[in-house]
Amino acid sequence: MTGAPPIVEMTGISISFPGVKALDAVDFRLFPGEVHTLMGENGAGKSTLIKALTGVYKIDEGQILVAGEERRFGGTADAQAAGIATVYQEVNLCSNLSIGENVMLGHEVRGPFGINWKATHRAAADVLATLGLEQLDLRRPLATLSLAIQQLVAISRAMVTKPKVLILDEPTSSLDANEVANLFTVIRRLRDQGVAILFVTHFLDQVYAISDRITVLRNGGFVGEYPTRELDRTTLISKMIGKDFATLRSLGSERQSHHYEPRGEPLLKAEDLGRKGSSEPTDLELHQGEVLGLAGLLGSGRTELARLLYGADKPDSGTVWLRGKKTDIHNPTAALAHRIAFSSENRRDEGIIRDLTVRENLVLAVQAKRGWFRPLSRKEQDALVRKYLTELNVRPADPERPIKFLSGGNQQKVLLGRWLATEPDLLILDEPTRGIDVGAKAEIQAAVAALAAKGVAVVFISSELEEVVRLSDRIIVMKDHRKLAELENGPHVTAETIVAVIADEGDDEEGDSE
Amino acid sequence: MRSIPRVARAFAVAGALTLALAACGGGDDDTSTSGGDELVTVGFVAVGPEGGWRQANEANVQDTFTEEAGFELKYAPATNLDQRSQIDAFTSFVDEGVDVILLSATEGAGWEDSLRRAQEAEIPVILVDRGIEPDDTSLYVTRIAPDNYEVSTAVAEWAVSEFPDGGNYFVLEGPAGVSVVNERNRGWDDAVASVPGLVKVGAQTANWSTEEAKSVFETVLKSNNNDIQLVFAQNDEMGLGAAIAVEEAGLTPGVDVKIATIDGTKPALEALAEGRLSFVAEYNPLFGETLLEVVEQVLNGEEVEPYIVVPSETFDSPEAATAALPSRKY
């Protein structure tokens, strides 16, 4: 870009894991003062490349130059000492410590009597200020914050050492538009200060908004390095997935033209369903074969409402009728017995059970529903597993592999399989496509469409408004823990419509209050 | 059928106990100082449930220091024979400022600091049964106990006369480090060492427990091909355990293997009467009266001997046991 030599230059990097070539002769360059995006589907080798750079994985072949010198790091800490800081996709902070303590963990300011907490908190405040987060209370425990804020705290923490290279591995996957804009301001500021930023994301919009250059990987191989302005979106996507974009587009878009007209008795009807502090009383109707989108910003109460429907949290007001009968859904077991399934947005902590195998993860809910004393035979398990691994195209299709070794998108597919195996009438999907690659996303969207066609009612929650619009028959727009509006979907509805509803309401409210 | 109501009662009490524990509200109800100011407060740092002997001893002390006799006794048994809990009880007696402390230490060592605190507070300490190690007589007023050394010497003398041609013997000890164990070992060793024929094939702790003694001795018999003629069990419970092990090995206790024990509890005397044990040396627990006299002397400022020995008997035959059984209180 500029005439300056690259701060990081990796050439011919190869890494093999037993049975898999994770990286095959990959080149990568990073210049000071640029934002460089690493693109590729899940499993393409993005995370592996980052880990090769920071020394978490040992490389089999190739050369890593940092500031012109050949380097091999012994791990994240070693790399950090050399000015390469990393913020990983999953937040790795101590939830029982305060924000300030988390930011300064390991870099506490020491005085003659041990840690000088006053100075430490001052230093933390300085770091937060550079990220535009002055409003955060340093002494608040991390556990009380949303995932989004936690992510920002993790980034602040990485900035403490004033690194020359900042690696952001999907930092935006849990942030809403506002927070992303916030973060981008900081990233631009850092870039202008000469920090080299390596950015991994799945959001194409963001790639084009922030990055100067793009390196594309596919199946562990190097596809190419391109200046962002010379690569249009369609070309980028086809380079990532290695196939024509048109096939992809047809998968999701067919949904909007096939609208389901609800008739007869609703499958589920809720009146005044709510819980103090998390969800205002809400009315809701859901019909068989219908996809109901829940749209709204992060923290608008989408997840909370979904959890009430499933009994994951206990509602303290309202009545629910299921198939016309008044029903009390007070816990997940009851929900499953009533053929309601719920996939949490928190895949890591509330979805997969990391140390269990793909098979065990997949059969868990069916088994729990049957009770432990009526076990599924191995044959039944294998049949279920085979069915859903094939149907959902899970890779690798190895049922005995611990699920933690699968990529995020494939974990999500296994989870979808877990809920489908319970044969639900109502499936609640909370952010099923967050943080997964374009291919897996399209496959999950296609599966949702197919389910609705089979008569399953689906509640679909996503931060990506386009996705909600593309899939839903009806859309409930939420804000501040309550229902703002309910939209019949149709050709006239777009993401902008929803944004307008959210924005308008604010003005209306002001008008109302007079 | 007498036991069933007791079990029922136990559970009523136990239920209440669990509730109290769960509510974290174990309140002390023995701080009743209402009995008049002339009552002498006596803190008893006791061992608690350990065996029949201890039960008899502590019940005897509690029966002696009654309010009628002019005493308020604060009984503090150790939790599971833990010295830590004893030190805590001891310290709180010192802080409370009781008039005199009676101490039966579960372990001999580690009492110096606590005893010094009592001394600074000018509270006399009388050791009951168990001694302390090292035995620094300046730290306490007196120790009143049957003499372990003498009692185990008596066992040893019986053994020497019973086995004039010698034989192999095994010692079942209490937990390592307890002063009683050391004293009983010394008394035995000093008397037996001079006899060339008696060969010690080993010694092992069985923690005063019947169950452990049985398990230990069955293995000891195997490792010595049953070639053991005499067992010196340092308490009755372990001796009874050894007897079971002997029977299970297909041998006859009292004939193939003779077992001698110390304490003289009822079950042991019954076993002696049946011939399963061969010798029981009493270690007299009932010295409440003597203790009372000593406490009064100490409170009156009189000098007392640093060690007051409680006399004990021995039983060397089924007949002697049968004769003593009807009057056995423990």
Partner: protein, 352 residues
Amino acid sequence: MTDVASRLAARRGAIVRNQAFWGVIAIVLLLAVNVVADPGYLSIGYNSGHLSGNLIDILRASAPILMIAVGMCLVVATGGIDLSVGSIMVVAGAVSMELLSGMDGTTGDAALTLAIALGIATVLGAVNGVLVSVVGLQPFISTLVMMLAGRGIAKVITGGQNTTADNDSFAWLANGYVLGVPVVFLLAIVIVVLVALLVRRSALGLMLEAIGMDSRASRLAGVKRRSLQLTVYSVSGLLAGIAGVFATASVMTVDVSRTGYQLELDAILAVVIGGTSLAGGKFSIGGAVIGGLLIATLDKTVVFLGVPAAATPAFKAIVIVVLCLLQSERVRSLFRHRRALRAQSQKEAVAA
């Protein structure tokens, strides 16, 4: 050729990494030490209608430990711990002896007593379960309360005394023989196998592991945490009750301050030696059995070798520390590394 060799190597690697394997090695080594001390150690004789020998003694001694170790294993799998097993043992023992001492010594009395003692033990376990699952206390605290309360209950039951009773049928449970083999060991093995079948043939094992690994995710998957925890703590209580019956029936005496004393530690140790992590999740009942056998072998070896009483705890500690070191992947890789270095330096020496 190389394929077969590498597969064999891979299998060997898997065995070496299996923690219970090192438990087996430790048992074999301890037995070997005993054989060195006395070549006849392993011989099994037949006298007065039953098998006898040191191995038989070890099997008998292991029975109570196996019971509590298996119960502990299930509790640990859910991410909990049961510190009360030793105390529940003494309660079961105290109830048995107190009841039997007031009865006539018939088989019917023994059966009734057994049922009452095990029933009470199960109830105490269920109380743990309620405290953990319904009240939501931490397992450590709940079972600690029960550990203290249990011994207190036993003392109240027996009036603080060590109680003795006579009942041949009851004693047979611990001391009898069937076809020359100790009843107590047969019972223990039958119970272990039943529990293992129950856990592995049903989906109980999977559910317990799921709770232990990620209780939030498993709750959302519909796993009934409360009822499973209640079940597991009750089972642990029941098994501890059986262990208490075994321990007291062998001498027909309950020793309120000694029976089951600190055996919870042995149980935890057995579970850990068997390769079950105290953090919960994957568990191995077979491993816990090996751990239990190892502890019994160790206890017996100490006596057989005549290790002085004062040195006994140190001896046990050394054996267990060495075992844990061997089980550690990191320590083993250190050894491999040194061996490789040595081999290399030898090669270089030869070349020079």
